[in-house]
Amino acid sequence: MINSQNIIARSATTTPPPQARSHVEEVAKLIDVSKCIGCKACQVACMEWNDLRDEVGECHGTYDNPTDLTAESWTVMRFSEHETADGNLEWLIRKDGCMHCAEPGCLAACPAPGAIVQYANGIVDFDSNHCIGCGYCITGCPFDIPRISPKDSKSYKCTLCSDRVNAGMEPACVKTCPTNCIEFGTKADMLDRAAKRVGDLKALGFRDAGIYDPAGVGGTHVMYVLHHANDPNRYSGLPKDPRISPLVGAWKGVTKPIMAAIIGITAFAGVIHYVTKGPKEEPEESADDDPTTRGYDATRRRDDAEDRPHGGDR
C-alpha cells in the first residue's frame, strides 16, 4: 500500500510528487469514544511496536499516565470528568494522538525537506532523519500533537504504524484494543461503521452523537465517534473547528518566497555589479607590516595568550 512512489506531499519540497496512481484507497482509524474503558493497552502496544520506552512517571491524582504526549508516548488516554446540567457525572475517555489530517498543518509548516511526508493512503509520517528540530510542526498542528525529544531535538508523533499498514496489517493500537473501540479500514468503511454506531448511540438516548471528521483540516484519517459531537471540547479540549494557524500560511505562502526572492536578487545584483564594475580598488597600504601603524596584531596576541596557562588576563 505504501511505497516511496506513494508519497503525495513532502515538506518544504517544490518538486511535484508522483500523481499517476489513482487507485490507492484512503485508510482511517476510527476511535469509538463511547466504547473506551481507558485500559491503555493501545499505549503499551504503541510503545512496544515502535521501540519506545518512556520514563516511568508519577501519579498526579488522575488516571492520565503520562499526563501529556511526549516524544516517546505517541498516544495517551485523556480522562475528563464532566458534570451534565442535570447533575450526572460523565467520565469521558479519549485516546489522543495524531489525527492524520488530509491537509496537515505540520507538513505545511515544516521547513526541512522530506522531514514530513503524506502518503496517498492519507498517513502523515515524520522522517526523523531529515528533522531539524525547529518545532514549526507543533505550531502548525491544530491538535498540538508533535513533541520534540529532549534527547535528540527531533520531532516525533504517531505514524499510524505506516510500516504495518504498508505490510497489510492494522496499526498496533487497533489490533490490541480489547473493547473493539479502535477500528481500522478504508476511510469509506470506517465512515459507514461510524454512522451505524452513531445511530446506535442516538437510539440509546445520546441525541447529539456524531462523527468527528473536521472539515477545517480537510477531514482526518483518525476519526472519533463522540456521544456529544456538538461539544467536542468536553473531551479534554478536542477543538470544535480545528484550523491551521494563519501564521503558517503567511510564513510559507507569502513571506518565504518574497524573502527568498529578495535575497536571491540581492546576491544576483552583487554578482552583476562585480562582473560589470569589478572589485573595489583600495589604495595599497605600504606600511602594513609595521606594528605601530597596524595597532592590532591578532596572531601575536593569540600567541601571548597561549603562553599564559591561567588565561589571558592582563
Binding site: I7, A41, V44, A45, E48, A167, C177, A267
Partner: protein, 197 residues
C-alpha cells in the same frame, strides 16, 4: 587552528552562503532519492504461537524472534502481539499482554528454582532435579503424616487438607482436567487455579 579572515573576506563568504542557501530555497538544489522511510520489522522473523501467561482468560499470542531458526543463530524474542486466530482474544491483548515483551526480558524474571532454607534470609539457586525431588519429598512426608481416611463419624473421606495446590492460569480445558485428576487423586482438597487475577 586560527583562520585569519579579513573583513572583506568575511563579507564575501557571508554573501556567498546567503546566495547559495536562497538558491536552494528557490528549488535549485538536488533532491535526495526517497527510499521507503520505515521498514517493516517482522520480515523473516520466526513466528511462534503461545498463550499469555498472565491471567485465566488465556489470550493467544504470537511471539516473534529474530533469525529463522538456523543452527548458527541464537533466537531472541523481539516482539509479541495478539494471535488473531485464537478464539478467546482474536488478536487483542490487554495492557499487560501488550507489554509481554518486557516481561520476557525482565531482569527480575524467575529463571531457575531457588530455595530459602528455614532460618535463612537468602535465596539459594538449586537444580530442577533437586527442587522437584525436595517438593516430592515434602508432599509425601506431609501426606503420610496428615492423610485422613475416615472422619470422626467413621465415614470414608480419604482427604489431605494440610497441603494446597495452586495451578497455572493460562491452561486449556485439557490441562485443567489433568491437573484436577492428579491433585484429587492425592486426596488434596485445597486446590485453585490462578484464575482471578
Amino acid at each position: 587552528m586560527a583562520i585569519n579572515v579579513t573583513r572583506r573576506q568575511f563579507f564575501k563568504l557571508g554573501g556567498a552562503g546567503l546566495a547559495t542557501s536562497s538558491l536552494a530555497v528557490m528549488g535549485f538544489a538536488p533532491e535526495p532519492a526517497e527510499a521507503s522511510i520505515r521498514q517493516f520489522k517482522l520480515t523473516h522473523a520466526k513466528e511462534t504461537r503461545n498463550t499469555c501467561t498472565y491471567c485465566s482468560v488465556g489470550c493467544g499470542i504470537l511471539i516473534y524472534s529474530k533469525g529463522d531458526g538456523a543452527k548458527n543463530v541464537e533466537q531472541n524474542v523481539f516482539h509479541i502481539e495478539g494471535d488473531p486466530d485464537h478464539p478467546v482474544s482474536r488478536g487483542s491483548l490487554c495492557p499487560k499482554g501488550a507489554g509481554l515483551l518486557d516481561f520476557v526480558h525482565s531482569d527480575g524474571r524467575l529463571a531457575y528454582p531457588q530455595v530459602r532454607e528455614a532460618g535463612s534470609d537468602e535465596w539459594k539457586r538449586i537444580s530442577w532435579d533437586e527442587a522437584l525431588g525436595r517438593i516430592a519429598r515434602h508432599m509425601k512426608d506431609d501426606r503420610d503424616a496428615n492423610f485422613v481416611q475416615r472422619n470422626a463419624q467413621g465415614q470414608t473421606v480419604n482427604h489431605w487438607t494440610t497441603t494446597g495446590f495452586l495451578a497455572a492460569s493460562g491452561s486449556s480445558n485439557e490441562a485443567g482436567y489433568i491437573t484436577h485428576k492428579v491433585v484429587r487423586t492425592l486426596g488434596m482438597v485445597a486446590f485453585d487455579n490462578q484464575a482471578r487475577v
